[in-house]
Symmetry: C3
Subunit: 278 residues, 3 copies
């Protein structure tokens, strides 16, 4: 992997990280919402990672120690699952395991907003959401309409950069073009397909795949590239799925197939990356 965070170094790292997910089968511990668990697990398996979803608070702490990466997605919180998340985040932090925060629908709903902000102190390696969720998590927006964003990626660029500085996390805001911002660089990921929005769980699976790519990144300096890598993979698979499917049932099937089939080189050809140093 590369020594410096030049755009070329980032893009070389993206390729290496995507290959390493396929060959290294990182174990990803997902504490995620009840709607998307199956598709999330299937997306991880398709990409080469190994999913696990342990929900007991004691076991969640045990498991975060052996996992390569951890996802915390606040889509369907209950008191029990909040406890398991707190336990997993604490274990991940003490074991230096990278963890990802997906602040689903933060802003409009009180319990998750308070909870997501409270675990920001435990230093997530990455935060990924739609622009409204990123703004609401940062404290500058009121959130979107349920899980739908009412802000654009462009509108939250400054907010995302500030959130990255404050939290130490790489921050990603998803849209037609995804934005990945860290303290060292800023990357736009262009590709994908509008039908990704019409299949439940593609965004949540992206959070899990981000935990997988972070899990194979060997250095914190590669965390920016790892987050770009997961976004590039999900978008590239969407592009490919959209070439054969015109409706969401077949699109979902083709998207899983593409997560499995696409090589790191394929991804790089299907997606446009535009990086600059911060």
């Amino acid at each position: 992997m590369a020594d410096e965070l030049t755009p070329q170094a980032i893009h070389d790292d993206v390729r290496a990280i995507l290959t390493q997910v396929k060959t290294g089968h990182p174990l990803v511990h997902c504490l995620t919402n009840n709607v998307v668990k199956q598709v999330t697990a299937n997306a991880l398996l398709a990409a080469g990672a190994a999913p696990a979803m342990v929900e007991d608070a004691v076991e969640a702490g045990e498991f975060a120690h052996v996992a390569s990466g951890v996802l915390v997605n606040v889509g369907t919180l209950t008191p029990d699952i909040r406890q398991a998340m707190t336990s997993a985040v604490s274990a991940a932090q003490s074991a230096n395991t990278p963890w990802v925060l997906d602040p689903v629908a933060v802003g409009g709903l009180s319990v998750r907003t308070q909870f997501a902000r409270s675990i920001l102190d435990s230093r997530p390696a990455a935060i990924r959401g739609n622009p409204s969720e990123i703004a609401a998590l940062a404290g500058t927006g009121s959130g979107g309409r349920g899980v739908d964003s009412t802000d654009s990626v462009e509108a939250v660029t400054t907010i995302a950069a500030e959130l990255s500085h404050r939290s130490g996390a790489v921050v990603a805001a998803s849209g037609p073009t995804d934005l990945v911002v860290s303290t060292v660089a800023r990357t736009h990921v262009t590709g994908g397909h509008p039908m990704l929005q019409q299949v439940i769980g593609t965004g949540c699976a992206l959070g899990a795949l981000t935990a997988a790519t972070l899990g194979v990144a060997q250095l914190p300096a590669q965390h920016h590239a790892a987050v770009v890598a997961s976004h590039a993979l999900v978008s590239a698979a969407g592009t490919v799925a959209g070439q054969t499917a015109s409706a969401p049932g077949h699109f979902a099937v083709a998207w899983l197939d593409a997560l499995h089939t696409l090589s790191a080189d394929d991804v790089r050809e299907l997606i446009t990356l535009d990086s600059e140093q911060a």
Copy 2:
């Protein structure tokens, strides 16, 4: 939309409502069972609606205020989820948001039977289930075999009408021909495909889609047509899926595709509606 509940007026409203779901993207809050959340969300997305599944009791109340429609499906009750349902139903009632009760397996199982009957007082806009569930909810049957109906739609016509009068809800009983009964009319919806019974969640998704169609109905007088509309859509998509798929894996994929692809006119051509004033 139409002024009177003549059969023609109902059928015109069905067409208008199906179009409005596609264009208005109603936000549907689903408190539903753990088996069908993914397929329910995908069915809503395919039909043009926006799904959300908030399970914390505080948030469920908050969310029912902003949703266009709410679904309460009692398939996998726990103490926590009952509390969230009670909170959502109460918020829906105070916000005049239409909500749907799906009494899965009511009759044979004690906790859900008592719970489902208790929330009947909170004036659901619609109740949908199989004939055995409708009879058991009404207090005149012992329920079916788990989720399977042991009664026919014909056998529960009078019971459904009485339940509608008592609860104020439009009552729908699903079968090879679906029955939709309200205080103003009675409609039979004929179409669909037997393989709809061999894919999990098509009935539960119908409950969610009913919350979507109710969510775009502008007047309570259109609630009858809204319930007919969701049943017509699910059946029409089943008919189309059965034309290309001969086994349940491909059928499920094709059914989701058809929910997305079929226009309101397509649905009307694929399905036979037979309405009479009550």
Copy 3:
């Protein structure tokens, strides 16, 4: 069915049991993990069984009385679900309903390991897991890597036989060749496809299908054949799916189709069974 447990008698019973699942529609009560509920229900429906997933402790006990078979899969334990499992297992035992224990990730995680061992006293009819889980449940291994096995089927043959003698259960360890061991016989089931490992829930669905095949077995002497039958069906469907699908999205769809389409004779032609008396 056959009188003796000769290999030929076992293999005749396998055929009869697979046919009976299709015609008898056994009701299977699944207390299983949150990741695989949808695919598990769809696999049961495809094979001809009727799934139900009741999670309230009171109702789980009620339901285990009417079910033909019960599955307890410890993949995502919570205090509530452990209580429902205990209630269901107790009711199954008192009603002589066969129940299956799937010790997902037992070994590495403390809560489930203690819980799974504690319910072994309630005489499961079958235990199915990967080799590492079987060894850990028996107390002779430390478990695998999350849900991945780090032991081979061959390495656990003696342990599985001892666990069968101790628990009274038919014990099955899944791998490229599956091993089914009981106090009366030992069977190897060869077939399947490597991509079964890349679709979430195929192993968990196998546990549920084992509850279905046990549910139609008329005598305890047929329990060995019932466990062989479910493993043969899942493997045969994998073989067929692998003939048309080269990536996991389409493979999952084709696998469900094959569970529905394959006759008992088809299964016997696709799979090699090798049985010997114990």
